[in-house]
Subunit: 228 residues, 2 copies
Amino acid sequence: MLKHQAIANKLKSYIDDNQLSHGTKLPSLTELMEMYGVSKNTMMQALKNLENSHVVYQVQGSGIFVRRRQRQDYDPLFQNTAGFFGNFHERITNRVLAFEKLPAEPEIAKNLQLPVGSLVYRILRLQYLDGKPFWLEESFYVADLVGHLPATVAEGSIFSYLRAQGLKIGFSDKYFDSVLLDEAQAKLLDLPPNSPALRLEDIYYLNDGRIFDYSRTYCQAKFYAQSN
Amino acid sequence: MLKHQAIANKLKSYIDDNQLSHGTKLPSLTELMEMYGVSKNTMMQALKNLENSHVVYQVQGSGIFVRRRQRQDYDPLFQNTAGFFGNFHERITNRVLAFEKLPAEPEIAKNLQLPVGSLVYRILRLQYLDGKPFWLEESFYVADLVGHLPATVAEGSIFSYLRAQGLKIGFSDKYFDSVLLDEAQAKLLDLPPNSPALRLEDIYYLNDGRIFDYSRTYCQAKFYAQSN
DNA sequence: GAGTGGTCTAGACCACGAG
DNA sequence: TCGTGGTCTAGACCACTCT
């Protein structure tokens, strides 16, 4: 564990445990450096992390303060590389609707930047959050890059499996817009037909820049994102 | 201009001007340090910037590479503090539908964390991107924090005006989901009734953590966001 | 093992804010 | 003017990748 990350975690725990409210002033940079026994640069980096994850905000010449968002009934939009479900894997369950290995159709091939007909896995899943249908996901994995995928992995986290196999997941492009669900989609998600929903398309890259996954998902959840 | 920022800009220009494609290898960290005459830390920070803005990706032990997203017909979702319109202010025009100063209703007061009845400005605008209706925005500004707002500012960028008045804008919380437009909204946006749309609610804070703006916007655009 | 990215330090100096 | 956050440097040392 990186030093600045460890410190960031400790500070965050401190804020959470003591339930400090928005605007509460924290010790000064110099004091924090001494408290944690690190250099200024490292402490700054820890604070930068916390600022980027919206736990604190810093005001030059004045101090470091606790930041809190108002609404709690929304899910985080971007958590980390693993996609939307950064820290609540436990709350997710899956129902696999399709699992097959087939040659890529033109549109899929284009998104994966492969020749048409290259072998891909297609996985269609309905995901439940806390037992409620939440997320309809169709994803395509490049067979050459992910190796053999046993059908059972689709029941759990595919990304965790791939990481365990030594794949290094790097970053992703996300495209999204708003659509009407068709009848089949709405039924699966337990919504009336013609409900509005978010559609998200993801293109995932390995850490060396090669595309290994294209997926599209539909949901009707509420999200939040914080920005600086 | 910060040194690491200036360097990041130069490198980005270099990549754009030469139209380097995804995966192109850049000079090594040490070479870049020498080329720009800065310390390792500073160069790293410049590269971190570029990595966060999805211009490059770094692979330890291997090198620094150009990153490109595939689709160009999407708008950026998060650009910077100024909200959605980071770098394309010029393409935006406004039609002001309402401009008034009034006591805050309970729901608005709650979002602004003010007592009910506090004075706020309410501004309803239709925004055009490249001349096409694009974005329906209703926003509420805290009168005590923004001072006197002449009605004419609503025709341009309100945030630019506020900044010019010395207000320091800090960060924001963004909440979004998908909804059906009602008849009036759809008409304004030049869409059929019952079209699906994205709804975005924003809560903007000053750099000292006080809320000064709450707004909700509706649109049917396509967005992208990249993540690491 | 050579080369490349990544973390950390100690200390100099700058920029902003509050009294 | 003083305390606080913010930037930059030079150099030590670590971790990964490629051959």
